[in-house]
Amino acid sequence: MESVDIAIVGSGFGGAITAMRLAEECAVRGLRARIRILEKGHDYFNLDPNTVWRYRNAQGNGFKQTMKLDYYAQMLNIWTDLESVAAGAVDPNRFPTFSIMGGRAVGGGSLVYLGVSLRAATDVFEQRWEAGRRLWPSMYTRAHLNPYYARAEGELKVARMKWSTSQGVPLWQTCTKRDHVFATGCLKAGFTAEPLKIALQNDTSDGWWHTGQRFPGRQHLPLNYLARAKQLGVEIHSGCSVSRIAPDGRGYVIDYRDARSGGERKTLACKILVVAAGAVGSTALLLRSEHAFRGDRELSDHLGRHVSGNGDFTASGIVGPQYRVEGHKGKPMSSFSPSFWADSKFILVPFFVSPMPFAFGQPAAMAYPKNPAATGRRSTEPATRLWGGAYKELFKSFGPRLLTMVCLGLDRCEGEVKKVPTLTGTSISVEWKRTHPDTEAMWTKATQAMRKIMNALDGELLTDAYRHRGHVISMHPLGGCRMAETRQRGVVDDKGEVFGNPNLFVIDGAIIPTSLGVNPSLTICAVAESIADRIAPSLGERLA
């Protein structure tokens, strides 16, 4: 059996940062540690010399910039409530459908994120629900994370967009037409809008944020943390899909399939194991492996619970004919409205993504052949038949006047990741439990705000997957391996170390105990930076 000192499963924000920082620490202290990242997806950046993905485009990276189906299937991880989708998505007596979309490649979610890099508000860390207990471990505050936020912003080259070059920025750093229309609507409705902070440099083209860009503007992990990790000797193995982990003496063993050797089953032993496969991926891996953790090592029964969709709630509408949104042009996100945070704990962000991933992210929308609004389920919107000529004509009228907004806010972590039996074993599904009244109230206010903005633009709010179809869609899943003070309240401690299992860590969105109300990548980075700092002093002892 092959062995390494530190194995990291997943190469997204949590995995990449942990790999780089631990490698730095080893270098500084002269520790000879072998660190390996196992990533399920392809390597598009030549970080893995043995990758099976050989394609290189004219810009020198592996992105094909194509609409082809197999490519999207490779790039995206989609988890959904299989049972609800198969049943037709909406059953008034069941829970709403829950779908989650993530990245699958070396670089993880950073390859499909929109670069938005906001710090979570101070009150996010102070959340207390009915029990009255603070949900975050006591050490986590905005003040604690501020230096780590700053560190991550530096690595990711986060820049604040501006409205105009007259504000002293280059053209690439200005907001899009879409943002100007949104801001106009906000001002008319009595709200404000502000430029976003984005991990972006020198990007003038802006297309293809979901399938790679012609120019390396968006700062994803292979350009920074992973590149540095590789320089420091971290081995990056792509195409390695981990099926199970188990404790083995003082260390751990990992079972995986290696696509680079024809899908061969392999086992890897390690002293320190960091699970960083994303909120769903990490939780799923622990769920698949939980039978191996017995007695004192048993995993907390919080595993799989408290999954947040980060309050994601998307709606679209058509603005008046005097406005040109042309949403497909420019950065997919570059402004937002913080006007609703103080009272209602959500923000609104106008955005656009190319149709394909949008379609991928809405399996229930794709599935339902009739308008379920007719069932009366939560619908407050005009009925629209979801297939046929009328549906096509409706979309035709969208065109350059389509303005889509996403609400990000504080939900009550109503999601769950769970194992479901299949004919061939078990599969991982996600489920959205009944929406908490607080979440429902937030989304109601978000809908009202969106409608006010649309009305101010002489437009009409039209579609909204949740209100129409009872379908919760999240691009920002969090939780599943909640971080807490004790195993009675969570799965990992404030360092991400799994209770009862020394040297087994979960470091990614899975450990975030609550929703964040802003795009979560920067907070995941800051938490990972903080954890790396706190693991570092004991690294020699842990590797002994």
Binding site: A73, A121, T174, I347, A359, A367
Partner: protein, 218 residues
């Protein structure tokens, strides 16, 4: 479940969603005849079905036919995409190499089901010869029946082909999104130099104000 035939496939689908037993097990003559259709006739039925989901409307109004929905339904990767989206249960490993067979079975079941419904409502006429309205009524009825998972599967293929621009950009152009550049050679760019207003938004002399601190929520 090691053999891949109609019965095992129906059982496989039924176990995860709804029972399909009986949906094509009828002794109905129309179904029997439909199962003996030539490949050309089967294709005509499936295309007529896809046209119901996204009908063609002449020049500038492409439908399922123009955007390659049939090819999407036939594409091997679509089985995996549909599985990811929850339209199909995960295939048993021993079926992974038999996607062509699965493709044929799905079409067989749909063609048989549509033949049964057409026979019931329209006697000797064939589904592909019905008007759009007549076909729509049949699909509405049958997509609520036991073959529903396969109608959803077919509809997803039509929608993804249209909005995803898998084979050409006719669908997205029709809904007002500009054509992709150099579509033929796989290199596309949805960006444009004309992406900014480069000015501060103003409404009645008012500009956006700041709530954030250095761009972040306080």
């Amino acid at each position: 479940m090691t053999t891949l035939d109609r019965r095992s496939f129906l059982t496989f689908l039924g176990a995860s969603s709804v029972s399909l037993v009986g949906c094509t097990g009828s002794e109905d003559t129309a179904v029997s005849q439909a199962l003996d259709y030539s490949e050309e006739k089967r294709q005509a039925v499936v295309k007529a079905l896809l046209d119901v989901f996204l009908p063609s409307g002449g020049p500038g109004h492409p439908g399922a036919a123009e955007v390659g929905a049939y090819d999407t339904l036939r594409a091997k990767p679509f089985v995996h995409v549909a599985t990811e989206l929850g339209f199909l249960p995960k295939l048993p490993p021993e079926w992974e190499d038999r996607l062509d067979d699965i493709d044929g079975l799905i079409k067989d079941i749909l063609v048989g089901d549509l033949a049964a419904a057409t026979s019931h409502h329209h006697g000797d006429r064939r589904f592909e010869d019905l008007s759009l309205g007549e076909r729509t009524a049949i699909v509405e009825e049958r997509s609520e029946g036991p073959c529903r998972p396969l109608y959803l599967y077919a509809r997803a293929a039509a929608m993804i082909a249209f909005f995803g621009a898998l084979w050409n950009d006719k669908g997205i152009v029709a809904i007002g999104i500009p054509a992709y550049e150099n579509f033929a050679d796989d290199l596309h760019n949805s960006g444009s130099t004309d992406f900014t207003y480069d000015r501060i938004p103003k409404v009645n002399g008012s500009e956006p104000w700041t709530i954030t601190v250095d761009g972040d929520l306080p």
